[in-house]
């Protein structure tokens, strides 16, 4: 795909287009495979979701959904911090004021097992939300079409409902942003996403099978009876956030809240989601996780600098840190403070000035027409984190390819400095 030179990537243009064939799975180095799941792009050839293949969204549609998710994140933080004016502004952009969580349109999926006997369920992989839920029989109100058979609690010997008076039920307030309800002493959860998608159902306990050797009893999850929205053919969501109801928190006794993943380079290849620290490479470089006020479920990070083509951009750390920063597996395009994005775009365009530009693609305003080239050279981009950690972005993470005649810089700016 690319050969790295000093400060740029040389890319064969033909390799920008994704393959229609699923390639062999990725494996983490030194992996104890007992605790590892495959991560698959929802819309790629490795996905087994037929509904998704038949209705693959365009890149423009994916970017519109991504913008909805980002507005939902900003809206959630603003609401929790009491920034009423910001909420009014977002409400004007057709966002629901009551956004319990984020839009459920993440691009990556994993398969887990639930119940006894175990039933496999393909769930959307999301570090930006907390509770795990799946559609459940008898679908008292509504279920959308999914690839896997819908989970049936009555067919499982290890299923039990959670009572309204339990501490777990009370915890739903912080995990979903909504107060739980009560039906015949059974705790009822409700989670609404930024695009108005939602799931409502019984809060329950069940045996969770991550791999054949890694099984957890009494895993708390949502057994959805009324589920509507943009979940495609997935059976629900896997919540990997920081709340105590998230999967990493519920499995903390075994895995100590440690998990890792690798997102594949293209939709035609696979990545992994691994729990625990067995087999972690010593070459992993660590920075500090922080907490964003009002957004305690998010994984906060501190980005202090950026470079393009080996040269650091002249952006002060205070601008990059102004609104805080998070890392999110469900947001497609990295959003930068407006000033930082302007500096990145200026430097990138300057080093790409030999290529003809193309029309913008949704939120992406720096696009190129590579149709007359067999290879192109693009500047390397790096992010710098606290504790001296430099993360070079892979060539596949710098460009977002709609077609060879519309290849875009895969970054965007926030609307406001304070976002």
């Amino acid at each position: 795909y690319a050969t790295a030179e000093a400060e740029s990537h040389t890319i064969h243009v033909a390799s920008l287009l994704p393959s229609s064939v699923c390639t062999h799975p990725a494996t983490p180095k030194g992996l104890d495979k007992k605790s590892s799941l495959q991560v698959i792009h929802k819309h790629g050839p490795c996905s087994q979701l037929p509904e998704e293949k038949a209705n693959i969204p365009t890149h423009a549609q994916i970017l519109v959904l991504d913008e909805v998710r980002v507005k939902s994140i900003h809206s959630k933080l603003a609401k929790n911090l009491g920034y009423v004016n910001v909420m009014k502004k977002d409400a004007a952009a057709n966002l629901p004021a009551k956004d319990g969580s984020l839009v459920g349109s993440g691009n990556y999926i994993v398969t887990i097992g639930l119940g006894t006997p175990k039933k496999n369920l393909t769930l959307i992989f999301d570090t930006g939300s907390d509770i795990t839920w799946t559609q459940c029989q008898p679908c008292l109100r509504s279920c959308y079409k999914q690839q896997d058979p819908i989970f049936s609690p009555s067919s499982s010997s290890t299923y039990s409902n959670v009572s309204c008076s339990s501490a777990a039920c009370t915890s739903l307030n912080s995990a979903t942003g909504n107060s739980p309800d009560c039906s015949s002493s059974t705790c009822v959860y409700g989670i609404q996403y930024g695009d108005s998608s939602f799931s409502i159902g019984f809060f329950a306990k069940e045996k969770l099978t991550l791999t054949s050797n890694v099984v957890f009893d009494n895993f708390l999850f949502g057994c959805g009876q009324n589920n509507q929205g943009l979940f495609g053919g997935a059976a629900g969501l896997l919540g990997l956030g920081r709340n105590k109801l998230s999967l990493p928190s519920q499995t903390a006794i075994k895995f100590k809240k440690i998990f890792s993943y690798c997102l594949p380079s293209s939709p035609s290849s696979t990545g992994f989601l691994k729990f625990g620290n067995d087999g972690l490479s010593k070459s992993v470089k660590f920075t500090t996780l922080s907490t964003i006020p009002g957004g305690e479920s998010f994984y906060g990070i501190t980005i202090i600098a950026m470079s393009v083509g080996g040269k650091k951009l002249s952006i002060s750390a205070s601008i990059l840190a102004a609104g805080g920063a998070i890392i999110d597996s469900g947001t497609v395009i990295t959003r930068l403070p407006p000033t930082a994005y302007s500096a990145l775009r200026f430097a990138f365009r300057k080093q790409m000035n030999q290529y003809p530009m193309a029309k913008p693609l949704s939120i992406l305003d720096t696009c190129y027409d590579f149709s007359k080239y067999s290879t192109v050279s693009i500047p390397k981009i790096s992010l710098f984190f606290e504790k001296g950690v430099e993360v070079p972005i892979d060539a596949r993470g710098i460009l977002y390819v709609n077609s060879i005649s519309q290849v875009c810089l895969a970054f965007a700016g926030n609307n406001n400095h304070s976002d």
Binding site: P248, K256, K257, I326
Partner: protein, 31 residues
Amino acid sequence: VLIYGNTQQKTLEVVYDGTRRMLGFRTGGCT
């Protein structure tokens, strides 16, 4: 907030250590 999205995370191994409150990165993590 600045949001570090999944396109830019491709091929990195991203490690979450909630107990030590650390986040790790390793390039070439999918191979």
